[in-house]
């Protein structure tokens, strides 16, 4: 009797092993870290998977000396899910999106209405996460992924994880996830990260007015990520350069980018530019008067500036008059640049990427009233006033610019 009882007791653990339908062996997984989407013919898409090789970069490296850090394969299929299955005709391991954090879409696909169908239908897959980043590449996504060979990062997912942090630091690109994309489909503009590996070099005096590929760069990884792709109603309609993106992000009430370094013309010697760090002091105040027609939008951006370098060597720090002059000059530049972007969105894009619609919605009691009001239409004619509330906080750790003693002939 005791033996039978013991036997039953031993059998209990086996019940926990039941239900192996969804088992997944770690060894048999292929973790896709980057997904590329391109338009193909006949409503098909080219889906590119960059699959990480977890052995590379780990202590287990010795086992797989000659294996590359990742494998990139492309398949043509009607949608992402079927491409995933199709990939297993080639890839020995089961494709898993558990670590997928980046989706790269070619501009050609993004500009077609097919894009929304592909993306909208893919989120049904429980493995697709709404926190995935969206990047639009100027060239084909498959070329982008193949050309991207970061020298400092062996493992591809690390590259995107670190780059994402840098994007937040610099504000050259927006923070674009699928969740934000799905939030902004009813006429608001959605900004996606814009990138390329091709060169279209240009030279500007203003160091953040570039679009990807235009940044003068010698050697290094060819990927340039700057500026944003503008989406309206699920379709790409234009681009913003790095500077315009930064300003757009500052105009949002709650910004994820709190500070960036930029240069502005020196008010006394306009040939030179002064570098400074702009820090957002608090939330941008947006007040919208919907009672007026056209509506009135008043925006106050509270910023403080830390002066970093003054190449003209003019002593702005110790002279209060010059400080005032500098402050006024920077404010004026900021405001005129911002107004240009506002004009551009009103006339060219006919919508706003500043998430002002949430402020406009506040003024209404019901959804019906808001929808009848049609904020996107009204915005195109709205009178917008942007004011920068700027304080110069510090002038760095030098009190005066270093002087070279002038020699008067010998």
């Amino acid at each position: 009797m005791k033996a039978i009882k013991m036997l039953f007791l031993c059998m209990i653990p086996s019940f926990f092993l039941m239900g192996c339908w969804d088992k997944s062996e770690l060894e048999e997984q292929a973790y896709v870290v980057v997904l590329g989407l391109d338009k193909s013919q006949n409503n098909l898409i080219d889906v590119t998977f960059q699959i990480a090789n977890p052995q590379v970069g780990s202590s287990d490296r010795g086992e797989a000396k000659n294996e590359p850090p990742s494998d990139t394969v492309t398949f043509t299929a009607p949608d992402i899910l079927s491409a995933k299955e199709l990939a297993n005709t080639v890839v020995s391991r089961k494709l898993n999106f558990g670590h997928l954090r980046t989706i790269i879409v070619s501009e050609k696909l993004a500009r077609s209405s097919f894009f929304h169908q592909i993306l909208g239908s893919s989120v049904r897959d429980p493995e697709m996460r709404r926190e995935t980043n969206l990047i639009v590449s100027r060239e084909k996504a498959v070329d982008f992924i193949h050309s991207n060979k970061p020298k400092l990062e062996t493992r591809p997912h690390k590259y995107y994880a670190f780059m994402q942090e840098r994007w937040r630091d610099t504000g050259h690109v927006p923070y674009s996830t699928l969740n934000r994309y799905f939030q902004r489909l009813s006429g608001e503009l959605f900004l996606a990260i814009y990138a390329t590996t091709e060169k279209h070099e240009k030279q500007f005096a203003d160091e953040d007015a570039y679009r990807p590929g235009e940044v003068p760069q010698k050697a290094g990884d060819p990927v340039q990520v700057i500026g944003s792709a503008v989406f309206k109603a699920g379709k790409m309609i234009g681009t913003l350069n790095g500077e315009e993106t930064r300003h757009s992000l500052f105009l949002r009430r709650k910004a994820l980018v709190h500070s960036y370094i930029a240069s502005y013309p020196d008010p006394l010697k306009p040939d030179y530019r002064i570098s400074l760090r702009l820090i957002k002091k608090g939330n941008t105040k947006v007040s919208i008067n919907v009672k007026k027609d056209p509506p009135e939008v008043k925006v106050t951006v509270p910023v403080k500036a830390q002066i970093h370098s003054v190449p003209s060597l003019i002593d702005y720090a110790s002279d209060m008059e010059k400080q005032k002059l500098l402050k006024q000059a920077i404010t004026k530049t900021l405001e005129s640049q911002t107004m240009q972007i506002v004009k551009k969105t009103q006339q060219e894009f006919k919508g706003e990427p500043f998430t002002w619609y949430v402020e406009a919605r506040r003024k209404f009691w019901t959804i019906e009233q808001y929808e009848n009001y049609d904020w996107e239409k009204k915005y195109q004619k709205a009178t917008v006033k942007v004011h920068y509330d700027l304080d110069i906080e510090s002038f760095g750790k030098e009190l005066k610019p270093p002087r070279v003693k002038k020699y008067t002939g010998d």
Partner: protein
């Protein structure tokens, strides 16, 4: 002090039971039903429903106090044998249907979000099998297990706010009235049986130590439940924004997937899945228990615990009828409309009968 168990439960246990019966509803398909009706102002609906259901509940409470009896005893005492039987049967059928549809929707969540290849019948059997195991131990065990897990489940659910705080924008709640206050109140009233368990839970009166405990525990449970449901419904809108939130079938599970602790620890949904499954087991144990109890009392059987097994089996079979979630939701919508009327009416009917009988008794004396 170790008290000798008398099969009855106290305030905290009964409050936990209430919380696990009603308070858990923000994790299932209830919010999606609310979003379809109340748009971005769906978070107000639980509060309106609470106020609407509170009136019949208070009426019922006064009767419970007066006669010191639970719902089913009151039904028979005041309605007589024939009408009592019919009312009991209707209450039983509504609850049986609700249990079957609800457990199917829980299984659908697990099946679509976590275990796609596991057959639905198997998941259904597992969930209800474990629930039966808990229910079979008796109401005292249900109450005590509920009290054991509540102190973990609620803080962990609230942690979600912390994990998604970057994505929250409270301005998404505007326009504040959504489809309009009158529409909100109307829809809350017609769908009040989403939270109809408030009425059903009073069948448990005989299992609670005394009237005072019952009243206190009910109010604590209801208050926390409705605030919780309202809070989370608002959270879904704040994170996903309207109209995107309307397209989500399972907002809670989608939110747990979006949750992250800092930059590196990203996939934390497993924590929530674990605690959610434990809560779901107790949730359905309570349902099976009430259903069996109602059935036994309707047929005036004294022993009802042997009924737990066949009722569980019946629930599993009924749960297999809808082919998918959308079909299940259609059944649910139908059931909600029918049951809302019944559940709101029964307490008033009992109250009127009580008055009438009381007067006749005074006259005959």
């Amino acid at each position: 002090m170790i008290k000798i168990s008398d099969g009855k439960i106290g305030t905290r246990e009964f409050a936990s039971v209430v919380l696990l019966t009603i308070g858990i509803k923000f994790t299932d398909t209830t919010p999606s039903i609310l979003f379809a009706l109340g748009k971005n102002a769906a978070w107000m609906m639980p509060l309106f429903t609470f106020m609407i259901v509170l009136i019949p509940f208070l009426v019922l409470l006064s009767l419970v106090k007066k006669h010191n009896q639970g719902l089913m005893e009151l039904v028979y005492r005041l309605m007589g044998n024939n009408f009592g039987f019919i009312t009991g049967l209707v209450l039983f059928l509504i609850l049986l249907g609700a249990t079957a549809i609800n457990c199917r929707s829980y299984v659908d969540i697990v099946s679509t979000m976590f275990y796609q290849r596991t057959p639905v019948p198997y998941l259904l059997l597992m969930l209800m099998g474990v629930s039966y195991f808990v229910a079979n131990r008796g109401f005292e065990t249900i109450g005590r297990s509920a009290w054991i897990i509540i102190p973990y489940v609620i803080p962990i659910a609230l942690l979600l706010f912390l994990f998604v705080r970057d994505a929250i924008d409270w301005l998404h709640l505007f326009p504040i009235a959504g489809p309009g206050i009158t529409k909100l109140i109307k829809e809350s009233a017609t769908h009040s049986s989403i939270f109809g368990e408030m009425i059903y839970l009073s069948v448990f009166f005989p299992f609670v130590t005394n009237y005072k405990t019952f009243r206190k525990a009910s109010f604590i449970g209801f208050a926390i439940s409705f605030v919780e449901i309202s809070l989370f419904t608002a959270l879904y809108v704040m994170v996903f924004d309207y109209p995107a939130v309307e397209h989500l079938a399972y907002p809670f599970q989608d939110l747990t997937r979006a949750a992250a602790i800092g930059e590196t620890i990203a996939h934390v949904e497993a924590i929530f899945l674990g605690f959610w499954v434990i809560s779901a087991v107790i949730h359905f144990a309570i349902y099976i228990y009430i259903t069996s109890f109602l059935f036994a009392r309707t047929l005036r059987l004294n022993e009802f615990e042997p009924l737990l097994m066949p009722i569980t089996g019946l629930v599993v079979l009924l749960g297999l009828i809808p082919t998918n979630l959308i079909a299940a939701n259609q059944y649910r919508e139908m059931l909600l409309k029918i049951s809302s009327g019944v559940l709101l009416l029964v307490p008033f009917l009992l109250w009127i009968l009580d008055r009438w009988k009381g007067r006749r008794q005074v006259e005959s004396d």
